[in-house]
């Protein structure tokens, strides 16, 4: 008879033993004796946390209810280990290369270090794992109750709730003690893993022992068992192919996605070569675990009273036969299964919760710019510990709320479907570079929501969260939204239904959104790192020592660890290296150790990048590259801004230079103009002054001379007046300030006025003017006086400059559209071609002063007048003599 006290004592002894193993393993690890701890055997055994109390107890129950169906739960992982070995290797490689700390970290890291995805996966994992932890508590509690029920004589009645409570507290303590003893860069927990490996052996030995007892103790060997099987109701169970396929897929997916599996398989993995052994050893382990399930179920159904809980056959069968020792071993097996699962799950979840939820919140709450010091380490540890308590606490809470009523296996399946929602995103992220962050979030949320609606919520009390009407008629009364018959797919098994719809819609959304969104640069880079992990990484790489200055390392370490701790670390290392001063050589080993130390405070990725900055030539992680790329991008942007500014400046400078050139040109023109004006003014004034002085000073002048000199003075004053008039006229015309008197005029009248005015003062030089009176009869609307002024100028010029012995000026008129052309052509030599462009410039007097009699402003004024009248005046080359064409619009 096992008394309750003995049971408790055995439990404590067992736990203490586990403590010892974990403690010893940690000590060995700290001393660097890692060979055994990193062996494939330990790795394979640690994978056995897949086999929880659910499989330990529940498999038999499952077999009693549904025959061989329990095998599916083992087939999935076996298929993954054997067939998808390359996928696991890829996962492990990525986990090492990227220093992945959890499945949430994997997804977050893959999609551009998105914390949103980290939070999503963390929530999914917590919600999906909580029922599973509740399941473990329930199984341990139930196993206690078995002993209490069967031996109530010497037993006080066990309160189930308080048992669950104390089990939860115990698990919390163990997990906190060994899961958060230290913060390790690689998130490895040698103590815990070793304890789990030991528990794996206990599980297997217990189950095999019970199996052997059943086959050879209760029955007469295998042959007898097979006959009894045929006779038992188990043989009547039909295989349901749909459900089988669904469950195999589900267990395979869960094997990859369960946080605790990811923890032992990827995060705790020391060497990807361990997978080679695990590839055959783990399926073998699973096979051994399932070997005696059916015999136990068959014998249980046969020997135990009807209505006994088949989930507890493993315990109750030996007990009923009085094999207390065996029952105790079996109890320990179940206890091991439950505790190892809870411990690893709690560690995995607490890592996620603290890394993706607590730390980001804590960091964002701190004042920006606050220096990172040694206390960060304590913050992380506290966050982990609190997270562990919260996770286990949630499991306990779920257990209390759900009342522990549902069959064990169904809770397990619900959890599996929940965590499997990560699978599409994980596989997509590993093999498809085009997958985007937004799509991952959308897919996860979709799958999560469908899982909640179709499986999770209906599971917790039929009338609890989802009302009966919703279950039967669908949400909002829409029958297509019935939780267990979406889109009219009723009649399916609820779990298969949920697997199908959640995975299908999850993948569909993930794929579709990926096609319609574009990955950001960081996502793309991470995508390449993940998808092409075997091209980018060559397994574990160490630091090279080139260029890592010990002083720089110490300065950095002091900032992170605190001055004292950092100095202690460096001094210890220096002593270990046999150096006399306080600074050790920055050997690869020391760099790696330092990185681990720093990782505990600031996270592994950050620590890696920080060391990498100092240790030149070190292997460069993606984070480093990205930091550099970001910086480079900023510099590029800044430089392109500078370039744009410089181009702008260059443009402005060019404009300035052009403006300056123009001003210089204008200044030269102005100087030339002033110089010309000066000349034009001083020349007549010279004559005036000279002759007025002669008239004043000379007494003996003849009256004829007096008259002659006076008339010279008079002419020169007229010339000055004319010059000033012209200048003013030109100035007014050039500034566009002239008042035009536009009126109907006849071209013939205007020409008449001009000819008589031009020829009137001097009749000494006869010039014949040929006109065509008929042509000239053109009515215009223009300023007749101004037009006449232009004609006078042209006629005077012809009279002055025409060199022909018999000068003739022909005035020809032609209408061209809305204009009338008036051509003045003389029979002289014309203007040399090189001077033609100059004729309309101010003071462009081409011949000597004497014959000009003007200041050389005439044609310049003509041009301005015609501009003002909306017409033009131009020199016509190659016309025999000098030829000017005046173009006048008929109407302005």
């Amino acid at each position: 008879m096992v008394s309750f006290n003995i049971l408790i004592a055995v439990c404590f002894a067992y736990v203490a033993f586990l403590f010892g193993i974990a403690f010893y393993a940690d000590r060995q690890a700290a001393r660097g004796r890692l060979k055994f701890l990193r062996s494939p055997l330990v790795y394979t055994l640690s994978l056995s946390i897949y086999c929880t109390a659910w499989t330990f107890y529940g498999a038999v129950g499952n077999a009693a209810r549904t025959g061989l169906e329990f095998v599916t739960i083992y087939l999935g992982p076996s298929l993954v280990m054997v067939g998808w070995w390359w996928l696991l290797r890829r996962l492990v490689r990525i986990g090492r290369a990227q220093r992945i700390t959890s499945i949430a970290d994997l997804i977050s890291s893959r999609f551009g270090k998105s914390n949103l995805l980290g939070v999503l996966v963390t929530l999914l994992a917590v919600v999906g794992t909580t029922p599973y932890i509740a399941l473990q508590l329930q199984s341990v509690t139930l196993s206690f109750s078995v002993f209490s029920r069967d031996m109530s004589a010497g037993f006080m009645q066990v309160d189930l709730a308080s048992t669950a409570f104390w089990v939860a507290v115990g698990l919390m303590l163990f997990t906190v003690l060994f899961g958060t003893r230290n913060l390790d860069a690689n998130e490895r927990h040698h103590g815990v893993v070793t304890a789990i490996a030991f528990e794996a052996i206990v599980k297997l030995v217990a189950l095999l022992s019970v199996g052997a007892f059943v086959v050879w103790g209760l029955a007469d060997g295998p042959a007898d068992i097979l006959t009894r099987m045929d006779a038992s109701p188990i043989a009547d169970w039909q295989i349901r192919p749909g459900r089988w396929a669904g469950l195999i897929f589900l267990s395979a997916a869960a094997f990859l996605c369960l946080p605790r599996m990811f923890q032992v398989m990827v995060v705790e993995s020391a060497d990807e070569r361990n997978l080679a052994m695990a590839g055959w050893a783990f399926p073998l382990y699973l096979m051994l675990m399932s070997l005696f399930v059916l015999p136990i179920a068959v014998m249980g159904l046969e020997l135990l009273p009807k209505g006994s809980n088949p989930d507890l056959f493993v315990l109750t069968l030996p007990l009923s036969q009085g094999w207390d020792g065996l029952a105790l071993l079996s109890f320990l097996g179940g206890f091991s299964s439950a505790t190892s699962m809870v411990i690893v799950a709690a560690i995995a979840l607490s890592t996620m919760v603290s890394n993706h939820i607590v730390m980001p919140v804590w960091v964002s709450l701190r004042a920006p710019g606050a220096t990172v010091s040694g206390d960060l380490r304590q913050v992380v540890l506290t966050a982990r510990r609190v997270s562990i308590m919260v996770v286990v606490g949630l499991g306990y809470l779920y257990y209390r709320i759900s009342g522990g009523g549902a069959a064990l296996a169904s809770i397990g399946l619900i959890s599996f479907v929940g965590v499997s929602q990560v699978l599409p995103v994980m596989l997509g992220g590993l093999f498809w570079r085009r997958a985007t962050k937004v799509a991952a979030a959308a897919g996860l949320i979709t799958g999560f929501a469908i899982w909640l609606y179709t499986l999770f919520l209906p599971s917790i009390g039929g009338a609890g969260v989802l009302s009966k009407s919703v279950m039967q008629d669908g949400l909002f009364g829409l029958s297509v939204l019935r939780p267990q018959a979406l889109f009219g797919t009723g009649g399916l098994d609820p779990v298969v239904h949920a697997i199908f719809w959640s995975m299908f819609l999850n993948s569909l959304v993930f794929f579709a959104v990926s096609l319609f969104t574009f990955p950001k640069p960081l996502e793309r880079l991470q995508g390449v790192q993940f998808v092409n992990v075997f091209e980018h990484s060559q397994g574990p790489r160490g630091w090279t020592t080139a260029g890592a200055g010990a002083e720089d390392l110490l300065v950095m370490s002091q900032r992170i660890l605190g001055a004292q701790q950092a100095q202690r670390l460096f001094e210890a290392e220096a002593r270990a290296q046999g150096k006399l001063d306080h600074l050790p050589d920055s050997s690869p080993a020391f760099l790696e150790r330092l990185e681990r130390e720093l990782a505990g405070s600031v996270g592994s990725a950050t620590a890696h990048a920080m060391i990498g900055q100092i240790a030149e030539g070190a292997s460069v992680s993606v984070q480093d590259l990205m930091a550099v790329a970001d910086e480079a991008a900023q510099i590029m942007e800044y430089s392109s801004q500078l370039e744009a500014k410089s181009a702008e400046l260059g443009h402005t400078a060019k404009q300035l230079s052009e403006a300056n050139e123009k001003l210089t040109r204008l200044s030269v023109q102005k100087d030339a103009f002033l110089s010309q004006i000066s000349h034009e003014l001083r020349t007549p004034m010279t004559s005036i002054r000279a002759f007025s002085e002669i008239l004043r000073d000379m007494d003996a002048l003849t009256p004829a001379d007096q008259t002659r000199y006076a008339s010279i003075i008079h002419d020169e004053t007229l010339r000055l007046t004319r010059l000033l008039d012209d200048l003013l006229d030109l100035s007014v015309l050039e500034n566009g300030q002239v008042a035009l008197n536009m009126e109907p005029v006849n071209l013939h009248d205007v020409l008449n006025r001009a000819v008589s005015a031009a020829l009137a003062p001097q009749d000494d030089v006869p010039i014949r003017i040929l006109r065509n009176i008929v042509q000239e009869d053109v009515d215009l609307i223009s300023d007749g006086d101004r037009l006449s002024q232009v004609f006078i100028n042209l006629i005077s010029n012809a009279r002055k400059y025409c060199t022909a012995s018999d000068p003739v000026l022909e005035v020809a008129i032609q209408k061209q559209g809305n204009d009338v052309w008036i051509d003045f052509t003389d029979n002289g030599d014309g203007i040399p071609s090189h001077q033609q462009p100059l004729v309309f410039e101010k003071f462009a007097r081409l011949t000597d002063h004497a014959r000009a009699g003007g200041a050389g402003l005439g044609l310049a004024i003509c041009r301005e007048i015609m501009n003002n009248l909306g017409g033009s005046v131009a020199y016509l080359p190659e016309q025999g003599g000098a030829a000017f064409r005046v173009v006048v619009p008929l109407k302005s």
């Binding site: 110089s675 000066s678 000349h679 001083r682 020349t683 007549p684 004034m685 010279t686 004559s687 005036i688 002054r689 000279a690 002759f691 002085e693 002669i694 000073d697 000379m698 010279i712 002419d715 020169e716 011949t847 000597d848 002063h849 004497a850």
Partner: protein
């Protein structure tokens, strides 16, 4: 024998005024009205003094001055330049080319006579 002055100037009224002044002072006054043939006139008249306008048709007074200073016969011939443009730049250029006297129009008659007399005596 009266000394000869060659007046190279295109403005007829100014030519008449200067001729009147210098002739009354006892000079034989020769005149020339164009730039391009001015050197021929110098060779022809072999003046004791030249009064040279800057702005001449066809050729600038500065060019003529440079030719005068370059030629052996006329290197030390007194040359008085007249300009109506009144810019200091013109005076500097004239001095650089070796002008004997520089005068800005309009000038006073006495100023002109004094200058000519000075140049003739020197």
């Amino acid at each position: 024998m009266a000394k000869t002055v060659l007046l190279i100037e295109d403005e007829p009224n100014i030519v008449e005024a200067i001729r009147f002044l210098l002739a009354r002072d006892g000079w034989r006054v020769e005149t020339h009205g164009r730039g391009d043939t001015a050197m021929d006139a110098v060779a022809k008249h072999r003046p004791d003094l030249i009064v040279l306008d800057v702005m001449l048709p066809k050729r600038s007074g500065f060019d003529i001055l440079r030719d005068l200073r370059a030629a052996e016969d006329t290197r030390h011939l007194p040359v008085m330049m007249l300009t109506a443009r009144g810019q200091s730049k013109d005076r500097e250029m004239a001095e650089q080319y070796g002008v004997s006297r520089f005068m800005t129009k309009p000038f006073s008659n006495t100023e002109m006579l004094d200058a000519v007399r000075e140049l003739a005596e020197a």
